[in-house]
């Protein structure tokens, strides 16, 4: 079942084109990472999916038009925009009351169960909680909603490494199953690499890479090349060459693994490295530092 389907999605802010004809299809049970430099259109794409911004082109989320049916859509969709959006005056108990009051798929007991494992107390106000605890609270609220699609826009921005790790761990262990779908954008690519099933690079409002993680792993290979093999390796047209601690690391796209194995140690590259290579080759020096 298709959860998100977009065709020719466009959005311009004045003369700036945020989305330039994006085609996108996300199936149920996938965890899609939407990766791109700042200003690439990630948040605009998510906002369109969530019914927060108007757009041109066709877009359906769970069979609905997000712009005109946001409130119905939100019965089955959850999102965490970033850590700063829970109102500071809100008490934890009030948040639970309110969600139980307005959300048909919110299981209060479940949220209380998640919160019991933290240091957050029902009487706490959001303003009294640390940034990490606010994220824990938001995650507890969201995970207690039986949603079909969860959208995360930089959910761990500004958090320390412990909270970041815990965030994705609980998401995977306590929430995700094959009937749910997650779309996540983040700059901390290395933290999500192992949880993603699909990957999408977006730049200047266009999708520049769209593949499953299996495809990604078979398509991109990184080789720590022996110095004597360097000329041979370069002949295979690596998409990127780096020098780390005196060794050359070359990144290849669509090159046979057996062939590369003779040149040196072959690894699956990190998304971040492929991202830098793809963006650098795609857009010239201005985008090269996007990492």
């Amino acid at each position: 079942m298709t959860v998100i389907e977009a065709r020719g999605l466009r959005k311009a802010f004045g003369t700036t084109i945020a989305l330039d004809g994006v085609n996108l299809r996300v199936e149920e049970g996938r965890i899609l990472g939407l990766i791109g430099p700042n200003g690439a259109g990630k948040t605009t794409a998510l906002n369109a999916i969530l019914g927060l911004t108007q757009y041109q082109g066709e877009l359906t989320v769970l069979g609905r038009d997000p712009w005109t049916e946001r409130d119905q859509l939100m019965r089955e969709v959850c999102f965490i925009a970033d850590v700063a959006v829970l109102p500071r005056w809100l008490r934890v108990s009030q948040a639970l009351d309110y969600l139980a009051g307005v959300h048909p798929r919110f299981a209060r007991a479940k949220a209380e169960g998640f919160l019991a494992k933290t240091n957050i107390r029902p009487a706490n106000k959001v303003r009294e909680l640390s940034k990490g605890m606010v994220t824990q609270l938001h995650l507890a609220l969201v995970m207690a909603i039986d949603a079909r699609l969860l959208v995360l826009d930089e959910p761990t921005l500004g958090l320390d490494i412990l909270y970041r790790k815990e965030f994705y761990d609980s998401l995977l262990n306590d929430y995700f199953d094959r009937s749910r779908t997650i779309v996540v954008t983040t700059h901390q690519v290395e933290e999500v690499q192992h949880i993603l099933t699909d990957l999408m690079f977006i730049n200047r409002g266009r999708i520049v890479l769209n593949c499953s993680m299996e495809e990604f792993e078979s398509r991109y290979l990184e080789v720590m090349v022996h110095p004597e093999q360097l000329v041979a390796a370069r002949a295979l047209k690596p998409i990127q060459e780096r020098h780390v601690l005196g060794r050359s690391t070359l990144l290849f796209d669509h090159v046979d693994r057996q062939q590369l194995a003779s040149l040196g140690e072959v690894h699956t590259p990190s998304i971040a490295d492929v991202f830098v290579a793809v963006m650098g080759n795609q857009a010239g020096p201005a985008q090269g530092a996007a990492r």
Binding site: R75, A81, L86, L99, R105, S179
Partner: protein, 309 residues
């Protein structure tokens, strides 16, 4: 308590088993209004604080009460009534003024504050429509604050009357004159009429305008609410040397025909007798309500489109 089907801890692996609870529009509205009361506690704290101050002041003034009652005996019934009712009318006016100011500031922040602190992204992630949200916010000045004003005023006046009675009885005098001049029941009815007719219905376009500006402004909603009105008045004056717009605003602020003279005079008996029909038939009321509906509809649209600041 509300969700028996969801309340039992379920394994997260079989979410499809849970039947989603049906949530009525009324319930969403109820919780949205409660949400407003959680956020803006000044809705009831400000008038309560004023009422407490009034009671303290009144308590101190009761030292002179027996004296005042003796002086009142020399006056004619009309003057008598004015003298005795004065602190009660004053209390009413003060509480009403407070809640009006609270309403103005509440409206200016209602749809602006949530964009400024980005919490609109959280509220919009929940299945509550923009219409429900805007109506719940409009219900604060139009329904909740008039009711709060009514309850607090009646209780305050009741306590004042009991205090006065106690002081008079304590000094060995009869409190009968106090009770004949302060018909609490009729005063409350008059107050309720005034609150519904003026504060809720007649002032509705004022609150509608403030909510609209609050949904629209990127900064300084207070200035955006006031300056365009001043500008229109000035342009009209310069261009046509007329001041219809200013007169219209003044008319809206001072109350409908016939009410202006009694607005400050809280006996309100005269207002209730015969003026109800006149009020309901006045075009100003219905034009005002129509304009309010337009303002609120525009605020709903804006809330849908506007992004966090």
């Amino acid at each position: 308590m509300n969700m028996p089907s969801n309340a039992t801890p379920e394994s997260p692996r079989d979410p499809q088993v849970l039947a989603p609870t049906v949530i009525s529009a009324t319930r969403r509205m109820y919780w949205s209004v409660r949400r407003e009361l959680w956020e803006s506690r000044s809705i009831y704290i400000a008038p309560l604080a004023v009422a407490a101050l009034i009671l303290v002041g009144f308590l101190l003034s009761t030292i002179h009460l027996p004296e005042k009652m003796r002086a009142a005996l020399a006056l004619n019934p009309m003057q008598q009534h004015e003298l005795i009712a004065q602190p009660y009318n004053f209390a009413e006016l003060l509480i009403m003024g407070t809640t009006f100011i609270v309403a103005v500031f509440y409206c200016l922040d209602a749809l602006y504050g949530e964009r400024r602190d980005r919490s609109i992204l959280f509220w919009k992630s929940l299945p509550v429509s923009d219409l429900t949200t805007v109506l719940s916010k409009a219900s604060i000045p139009l329904v909740v604050l008039p009711l709060v004003t009514f309850a607090i005023t009646v209780v305050t006046q009741g306590i004042m009357l009991l205090l006065g009675t106690a002081v008079l009885l304590g000094s060995g005098r009869s409190a009968a004159m106090l009770w004949t001049h302060l018909p609490l029941w009729r005063m409350s009815l008059g107050l309720l009429y005034h609150l519904v007719a003026i504060h809720a219905l007649w002032y509705a376009p004022i609150f509608g305008w403030l909510l609209l500006v609050s949904a629209w402004a990127r900064r300084a909603p207070f200035l955006w609410a006031a300056l365009p009105l001043l500008a229109i008045g000035f342009v009209e004056k310069i261009a046509f040397n007329t001041s219809h717009f200013a007169a219209m605003l003044g008319h809206r602020m001072s109350g409908p025909e016939g009410a202006a003279s009694t607005a400050g005079k809280m006996s309100m008996d005269s207002m209730m007798q015969g003026t109800l029909g006149q009020f309901l038939l006045s075009p100003g009321l219905w034009i005002g309500l129509g304009v309010t509906a337009l303002f609120l509809a525009a605020a709903v649209r804006l809330r849908r489109q506007r992004e966090p600041i």
